[in-house]
């Protein structure tokens, strides 16, 4: 089976007044149809940029190198117009904050039917019918009434459902979900993720799930890529990663997930220190300053991507459990 998406050596930088900001370095990932990948990392690790870079939604100050092959077609150097033809129908995106990602000045109905009319050339009546159907599929009560509402009249969970409805409205093959649940209550989070899985299953849609929360990706992805300071530092099938994670950073991420059994009021273990300045190149491992297992070598030399077998890649001189 051919891959739906093949990302190779993708790097993204931004021109800023203080110099070049390297947000993503030499990322290489693949995704089969219907498959789902989680991209995990702290804020500023480059995960959102990576997903937007694939879609081509970067601002004009960004520079992008490397190759992105979608359905066997190189899309990284396509003109914007042709890329746009893929959006909505081929790839679609679900945004982090349903509060800001819906246009506050337009009614739900018009936002929902917009891509139907523009992309699928439906007439207004059909678009409306389809909208109602979509709303029903994302389990919105009174879908007819919903069409006339403004976003500010809805709760966060409702809005996220609507955003999902918009994203899937044109039946995309690939769905980017950028922290789709971060802004939601824990109980709603689970429902939304369930809903996404259902919808994907119906259409065999692949998904890139971007999150900072290792807990979220666990049950909903096939593979996981952990990013740190622009690098993919660990890349493995989900089950394997959880079974034998190699990166101290991944471990630290996992420890920082709130758990139900954590007593309320106790502080979550956080990762000490901060991300390095993205405009400066670091000589050694970028995580060195924060790593509990750091040694001289880590500061002196940047670790290459090493293969632990079974598609498990990592970037560490001293992985947990030792080098295979």
């Amino acid at each position: 089976m051919t891959n739906l998406l093949e990302i190779e050596d993708l790097s993204v930088g931004f021109r800023t007044p203080r110099g070049n900001l390297q947000a993503v370095r030499n990322a290489t990932l693949t995704l089969a149809p219907g498959e789902s990948i989680g991209i995990v990392g702290e804020s500023g690790s480059g995960k959102t940029v990576l997903s937007r870079a694939v879609m081509g939604l970067l601002p004009s100050t960004a520079t992008r190198t490397g190759s992105i092959v979608y359905q066997g077609r190189e899309i990284s150097d396509l003109p914007r117009d042709e890329v746009r033809d893929l959006w909505g129908t081929g790839m679609a995106m679900i945004f982090q904050d349903p509060m800001t990602a819906l246009n506050p000045t337009r009614r739900i109905g018009s936002q929902l039917s917009e891509s139907l009319v523009v992309r699928l050339k439906m007439d207004k009546g059909a678009a409306r019918q389809k909208s109602v159907e979509l709303l029903r599929r994302v389990r919105i009560p009174d879908p007819e009434g919903m069409l006339r509402k403004f976003p500010y009249q809805l709760s966060g969970g409702m809005r996220q459902r609507i955003m999902i409805a918009i994203a899937v409205s044109c039946g995309p093959e690939l769905l980017f979900a950028d922290e789709p649940t971060t802004a939601l209550d824990v109980t709603v989070q689970a429902q939304v993720l369930e809903l996404l899985d259902e919808l994907r299953a119906e259409n065999n849609t692949a998904m890139v799930l971007v999150t900072h929360d290792l807990g979220v990706v666990a049950g909903h992805t096939d593979k996981i890529a952990v990013m740190y300071a622009g690098d993919v530092v660990e890349y493995a099938p989900t089950k394997r990663l959880y079974a034998s994670m190699k990166m101290p950073y991944t471990e630290a991420l996992l420890n920082s997930i709130p758990r139900l059994e954590t007593p309320t009021g106790s502080r979550l273990p956080v990762i000490e220190g901060r991300l390095p300045d993205p405009t400066k190149e670091v000589a050694g491992c970028a995580f060195a300053d924060r790593c509990p297992y750091v040694s001289e070598k880590c500061r002196a030399e940047k670790p290459p991507l090493m293969d632990a077998g079974d598609g498990h890649l990592y970037r560490c001189w001293f992985p947990i459990g030792g080098v295979n």
Binding site: R52, N103, R106, F176
Partner: protein, 319 residues
């Protein structure tokens, strides 16, 4: 979000502002040396001066004088211009001149907005491009360019030397529409240049902010065209700011028309204000300034209310 409550609050504010502003003005004119009636109609017959004194309740102190004027205003009596041989009703003068000024201002607003919307949208869309930089610098320069200087230079070039249009005058649209529009060209351009600049810059900055909003990226990810995004998703929220600014300008512009109307000899309210101030028509001056202040505050209020219809975000904030 009690609409009526906001409305009532604003109306009270309007009344308070106009009341105090005009009272201060009364106080100022009251402190003028000399008998106010004689200041108003210097050289008039005693008959006229006496009637002014009675009309204005000048013998009743500054409060009596003010109260007399204020109650008159509330009952629709806008006062009079006193001439040596009688008077002109301010209401009639306003009735004749205000529409002329409004026409001019509305043309100027239409012209400015028509230019500013595409310019602002495109330069925001192409932020920091060569086009954007040229437009931005030009406009920043234009907004600093005094409108009276522009008016004079334009009338030199286009009216006096090239003789494309008449240098001055006003014709009512009902009389001769073509002539009316021709005569309006120079004054409207004089006003519009600064206005266009300030609108464009406002819109550009607002659109740049809006373009960074998630919902714009979201709209883009649906695969709809940039043009559609700009007009459907970006312009509408940004237009609120523009609308607010346009309305706020109406009050200020009325003041600005004084010079333009004087230069182009347009019988508008700006010229009347100047005349009233210059010839010390205290009552007319007070009334006209009250009208302008009312006008200004009224536009503010209206815009605020309209804004809530156009941009539901503000409703959200209020709640």
């Amino acid at each position: 979000m009690d609409f009526l409550q906001i409305l009532a609050k604003r109306l009270v504010g309007l009344v308070v502002i106009v009341t105090i502003a005009t009272f201060l003005l009364s106080l100022l004119t009251w402190l003028l040396p000399g008998d106010a009636a004689e200041v108003i109609a210097g050289g008039a017959a005693p008959q006229v001066i006496e009637s002014i004194r009675q009309d204005l309740a000048l013998d009743e102190g500054v409060f009596g004088y003010y109260w007399n004027w204020y109650t008159g205003l509330l009952t629709g009596d806008l006062g009079r211009y006193y001439l040596a041989g009688g008077y002109r009703e301010v209401s009639e003068v306003v009735g004749q001149t205000l529409p002329v000024s409004l026409q001019m201002l509305i043309y100027a607003q239409i012209v400015s907005l028509t230019l500013a919307v595409p310019l602002g949208l495109v330069s925001a869309y192409k932020e920091n491009s060569r086009f954007d930089r040229i437009v931005s610098s030009t406009l920043f320069t234009m907004v600093s360019f005094p409108s009276f200087a522009l008016a004079l230079i334009m009338s030199l070039v286009f009216a006096v030397q090239l003789e494309w249009v008449d240098p001055i005058g006003y014709v009512a649209p009902s009389e001769n529409l073509l002539e009316h529009l021709k005569l309006m060209i120079l004054p409207v351009i004089s006003i519009s240049v600064g206005l266009t600049s300030s609108y464009t810059r406002l819109l550009r900055n607002d659109v740049i902010q809006t373009l960074k909003e998630d919902y714009v990226t979201m709209a883009a990810s649906k695969g709809i065209s940039d043009r559609r995004i700009l007009f459907r998703h970006v312009f509408r929220p940004s237009s609120t700011t523009l609308l607010t600014s346009a309305a706020l300008n109406m009050g200020g512009l009325i003041g600005g028309t004084i010079v333009i109307e004087t230069i182009f000899v347009i019988p508008g309210i700006g010229y009347e204000i100047f005349y009233a101030i210059g010839s010390r028509q205290l009552i007319a001056m007070q009334t006209l300034i009250a009208l302008i202040a009312t006008f200004y505050v009224f536009f503010n209020t209206t815009v605020d209310l309209i804004t809530q219809v156009v941009d539901p975000r503000t409703r959200e904030r209020r709640v």
